[in-house]
Symmetry: C2
Subunit: 326 residues, 2 copies
């Protein structure tokens, strides 16, 4: 394979000149440029991307950090982010931070060292101190990290209200809600606070079950659901993230409960997994594609040194009523 | 931020010497090395990863190409690949090729240009010619691409046999199987051929429904299932990939069919989505984690110039019997 030196030699110019032609920078006489480009064609020379990026101080790579890229919410988010980044000329690096200590730090280090141009983080790490001294592009999904880092989120308070009102309207008297770990500073906590507030206001019994931090596995869901199912046997309504609410619904069905006659179910997120069950289940749908597109729009702006106005961009969730709450 | 020149100046050495210390290459006197390292600490100098990689002619990045990274099979595969690559010191770049023309070519170009050290491809592209002249590390998941590229796969023939025998044992007389597009050269086709062979041998009616190429969306599944459900109304057994078989089961349940009394169901892949339905569904489980780990082991070997012996590595699928075929 021909290298830059071969091109320089054959064109009778210095390596620096070839480099300026490749990077379209600095002064090169028009005749010289043409000559270099002809030689590049003749030798079938492909510039080394690494060298070009080093010169430009950009890599065109954005890292996306999520706890678990196979979790349906993050899987849909990552897919949309990747596609949007691709359309804007970036490549996507992913990292599952859930199982690996320090991987978040390592990616922040790569951001400092300009191996990546930006980071979109959906990680529920408990440590935010490390982010605060970084002046490079970061966008946070559903998570507060200091004052300088923009957050892309959903109006979870509205989401919680829609869910509460739906279960109240359906006549529930004793409700379970599964909620994320309170130790994480996330706007998504608001859905639980609001849900609780409205349910309590109506004098309905509510059991709020707090989950462990960063727990995204079927065996964990099975364990917690089976415990809770036994403990609160008069439950007639359940509200939780997709996989948890569906696990609860499955266990209830296996125990002979009829949906929706004996138990009403609402899933939060409304990813594709809620499409496979019978009866069709009511969801509060997060606009994941919009979250992804906005995250990418913001990171692209930051990488290109443009201003962004809002610290927090909030999208609207949607109630989609199906048989499980009729 | 301190640069390599600042380090060189303060240590009283040339930039080349600092570079040799950073990259741990070439000769540097021990006393000089210590001095340079001290200065690096004092100045809080972080070597530019881009420059280091350029020097090493490696980027430490492996690209993973899949049709749709949110499809549960690929989502689980990508997660395991990323974690295994991370443990081996690589970063993972992903690309969804399904919706974007030419993205596969672009990544192959990046492989040639050494922006990535290797490519693991699970893409069902119809074009393989472009792969044949590449001498760089490529591993194929479940797909034949010429003679030089190793394939990591599952014994799908066994998978097809296990499914057929299970439905025969359960007493099915009229079966639907959903199968991938025949235009793709993939070992996974063998499950359908073998399934068909055994079902036919037993004189059972079989409807094989061929899917469109690279179609992975719920609306498409809904459309094809609703058509097929109306067309073959005496069906008492169904075999298909997770989302399709579950969609069929859901439609059947909504029409009042009882599982397993009126309809037996087997899902192929056995990803996490099969865990959320009632009744629990029988699966042929692909060992996705093993597929991922072996793909990474192979690409790592190839990147490091080691020999690998087998052109095809095949893992064993497993029948997990649950209520849907009892």
């Amino acid at each position: 394979m021909a290298g830059i030196k071969d091109v320089a030699k054959m064109a009778g110019v210095g390596v620096g000149t070839v480099s300026r032609v490749i990077n379209n920078s600095g002064y090169v006489a028009e005749a010289t440029r043409e000559k270099v480009e002809d030689v590049m064609k003749t030798l079938n020379y492909t510039p080394n991307e690494l060298a070009r990026n080093l010169y430009r101080k950009k890599t065109g790579i954005v890292a996306v950090l999520v706890p678990d890229s196979a979790h349906p919410f993050f899987a849909e988010f990552v897919r949309s982010v990747e596609m949007e980044l691709y359309h804007r000329g970036y490549k996507t690096m992913i990292c599952n931070t859930d199982k690996v200590k320090n991987s978040e730090s390592e990616y922040l280090q790569m951001l400092r060292q300009r191996v990546v141009d930006g980071v979109i983080t959906g990680v529920h790490s408990l440590e935010i101190a490390e982010y605060l001294d970084i002046e490079r592009p970061i966008v946070a999904l559903d998570r507060f990290i200091g004052n300088k880092i923009p957050v892309v989120s959903v109006d979870h308070k509205l989401g919680g209200r829609l869910a509460a009102e739906e279960l109240i309207k359906a006549g529930c008297r004793e409700i379970i809600q599964f909620q994320g770990s309170k130790s994480v500073q996330s706007p998504s906590q608001e859905r639980h606070t609001e849900f609780e507030r409205i349910i309590n206001m109506h004098g309905i019994t509510l059991h709020s079950v707090e989950l462990g931090w960063n727990k995204f596995e079927t065996p964990y869901y099975e364990e917690i659901v089976s415990r809770v199912f036994g403990e609160y046997s008069n439950t007639d309504g359940v509200f939780g993230a997709d996989l948890l609410a569906l696990e609860y619904m499955k266990v209830a069905q296996e125990q002979g409960k009829r949906i929706p006659e004996d138990l009403k179910v609402i899933c939060y997120d409304g990813t594709f997994v809620t499409d496979v069950v019978s009866p069709p289940v009511t969801i509060i749908r997060q606009p994941i594609e919009q979250l992804a597109q906005e995250s990418v729009r913001l990171i692209d702006h930051m990488i290109n040194g443009k201003e962004y106005k809002k610290r927090m961009v909030e999208f609207t969730p949607e109630l989609i009523r199906r048989k499980s709450t009729l």
